[in-house]
Symmetry: C2
């Protein structure tokens, strides 16, 4: 790769102009053409597997030489199965319901003007991500299916892998006669390009950051372009006094320990002071190998370590949980209102009134009754995929897939109506 | 009014904290309570009419002394009828369908988890506006009905009027037992407070600017909080070769001249080179007193003045229109793509295929066939009111009323489901 001859702002301006042109074409293509493009991309990825794996091996070797952590190397590493899975995911996206053109509502006004709201693509989506090369393909596929042009900016550790995946993906699109600029990959790892993307209001319609908290925080702090992101998943499970103990144990174990590194993992367990089986619940969670940090009442139930004030606001993403004993539903609601991050919270109870109050009053994107917080996932919600989980309050909230990548316009069909 | 003792950031922080608490209460009140609060506010405004008019007289006198333009004084001035109309508008908002709690969709997952998406208020809305005191009440009423707390920051010219209207409005809410901090008015005209509102991410969920282009541009440039706004309404009417001449004249006259100062007014007339009655159309529009500025071909049809390059990008908001002759539908689409502001554009034609292409391909919030652009209005669209017309692409687009002031959350009701 040669050094860029354009400034970061000029580069993004040029890419944005091409993306806008592609978006205009893409928005008018019928579903079948976008689906065909994606099937072409999936086939091209399968065909390019040797080149993709060779590029990935270079990234992994460079990462090992640079001393990347084992976790980062795992996120970076591809193998035959992972490349196959990446291609299969593209085929799956191509099979989803198309939101573009879907009518949201319609009405005929008293003057005879026939109005309808119809979903249309957003336009140009910028994706800023870190070391997982599969994001290159996953994000691009969702954007293509929803009729959007995409500008991808991946992490420098995965640069060769991303270029190989992007080359295959766009070859596949081109074979299906989709515009060449439908999916563009920023051709430099210069960090200033991220800043230029964040400032590109009017060129990029929406930025979606995919990565760790520091990336997302930087994007949210600097962007002049709208951002769809989640920052923290400080998720709670509240075990109510009326919870079934076996169900409580199963839900809490799954919410915390099924996978500890995902944003839907439980970080804080709230136990109703009136719950009779608190000590057994604590013991069951501790028996999974989870480190527990509790307040004094939780320690009295068997929690080994004392929590400090920061624990209630910490997203561990690890086999660690904070445990607090609260005074019933009101205590749980107050704790979540103070410490929650508006991502996913759950209540376990057999009392329907309390459950409905919890569902109504917890101000989070996802609120669950008698189910694990680890269901916070577009696939589990029936969306077929997800580009992220939004914890902001505007546009889309919770798991975001194709619908969240569209907007709408109002169409009015008249017979010469004037306001007069 | 005494000088504020808090810094602008401290003031907004304190107001935001109170607003968040009020929003939590408001979001859980049933429709009836919010409706009762609004009827109380309307009654209190009627009862306070003498005090409101006295306050307004002070603002008007100060404005005259300061040399405000006649147009600004007209926007500022209240009389008995205008106050009655303000109160009546609040009663009308109280009669609208309540979006809060409305189910968007639902599904039972294969594992039995019952999912639904339900509309909830956004939370805390900041309204930044200029000299029209009625915005104090109109905006507050829409926010209350949609379950949101509001922080209002009006123009300094209307400070006394806004205080009087706000005092009556909140007295009425309080009489119906709604939280005192449901609607707060910034108690200073210090411009730095606007800056503090724009930076108040996490305290204010959404900023809606209501006013002229310089206000909206400042808000969009500086805000760290999401903004719902429209900047320009550079709206086009394209008169196609297959247009009925009588309909074309009626639509164009209405779109331009019914009211020239509103954002839905036509600014540019595009005439198909193949349209046989172009000269008559130009003459009809000129006969209304509209100044016309055209390209060479439009001048050949009778347009008196030559347009320069800036005319195609100008929102006149006056009895002035740019006129261009274009090569059919493709020429019109290209002109709108280059110069439009994504607000409202219309085609007049008897050719359904061309009309449907125009509806599909023009990338604007509102696209109309055989109807005047002046229908761009929440009331005309059956929304019962509007807080503005959004020309951005995220969250809400076009006329925004109660639904646009809500977001949603996902509710899941299970029986102990775990992902395992």
């Amino acid at each position: 790769m040669t050094a860029p001859v354009l400034s970061p702002a000029e580069l993004i301006d040029a890419m944005g102009t091409r993306a806008r042109a592609a978006a205009g074409v893409l928005a008018r293509l019928p579903s079948e053409r976008r689906r065909a493009g994606l099937h072409g991309a999936a086939a091209a990825i399968r065909a390019a597997r040797p080149a993709i794996l060779a590029a990935n091996a270079r990234d992994v070797a460079a990462g090992e030489a640079a001393g990347l952590s084992a976790a980062m190397l795992d996120r970076l590493r591809l193998d035959e199965d992972r490349v196959s899975a990446i291609a299969a995911a593209v085929d799956q996206v191509a099979a989803l319901d198309d939101p573009v053109g879907r009518e949201i509502d319609r009405a005929v006004r008293p003057n005879g003007l026939a109005l309808s709201r119809v979903r249309v693509p957003i336009g140009v989506i910028g994706i800023i991500y870190e070391s997982r090369p599969n994001v290159t393909v996953d994000a691009a596929a969702l954007c293509v299916m929803s009729g959007n042009a995409t500008i991808l900016r991946g992490g420098s550790e995965a640069a060769a892998s991303n270029r190989a995946l992007h080359a295959a993906f766009t070859d596949g699109l081109a074979a299906a006669d989709l515009p060449a600029e439908t999916v563009q990959l920023v051709p430099t790892t210069d960090r200033a390009v991220v800043g230029a993307m964040l400032m590109a209001a009017g060129m990029i319609d929406l930025i979606i950051p995919r990565g760790g908290k520091s990336l997302v925080a930087r994007v949210q702090a600097e962007a002049r372009v709208p951002v769809l992101a989640h920052l923290d998943g400080i998720n709670h499970v509240y075990v109510d006094g009326a919870a079934d103990p076996a169900m409580a144990e199963a839900v809490v174990r799954d919410a915390k320990m099924r996978r500890t590194g995902i944003c839907g993992a439980m970080e804080t367990l709230l136990i109703d002071r009136a719950y009779p089986a608190g000590a057994a619940l604590v013991a069951a969670l501790a028996a999974t190998g989870c480190t527990l940090r509790g307040d004094a009442a939780a320690q009295a139930l068997g929690v080994a370590e004392a929590a400090d004030a920061t624990d209630w606001d910490t997203e561990y993403l690890d086999a660690v949980a904070a445990v607090a004993v609260v005074d019933g539903l009101d205590g749980a609601l107050a704790h979540i209102a103070r410490h929650g991050s508006h991502h996913t919270d759950a209540i376990v109870t057999g009392d329907e009134d309390r459950a409905e109050r919890f569902l109504a009053e917890v101000d989070s994107a996802i609120v669950l009754w008698n189910a694990s917080t680890q269901f916070a996932d577009g696939g589990e919600f029936g969306l077929g995929a997800e580009i992220g989980i939004a914890t902001g309050r505007l546009h889309a909230r919770g798991p975001v897939a194709l619908e969240g990548l569209t907007t709408y316009k109002w169409l009015g069909r008249g017979t010469g109506q004037v306001r007069g």
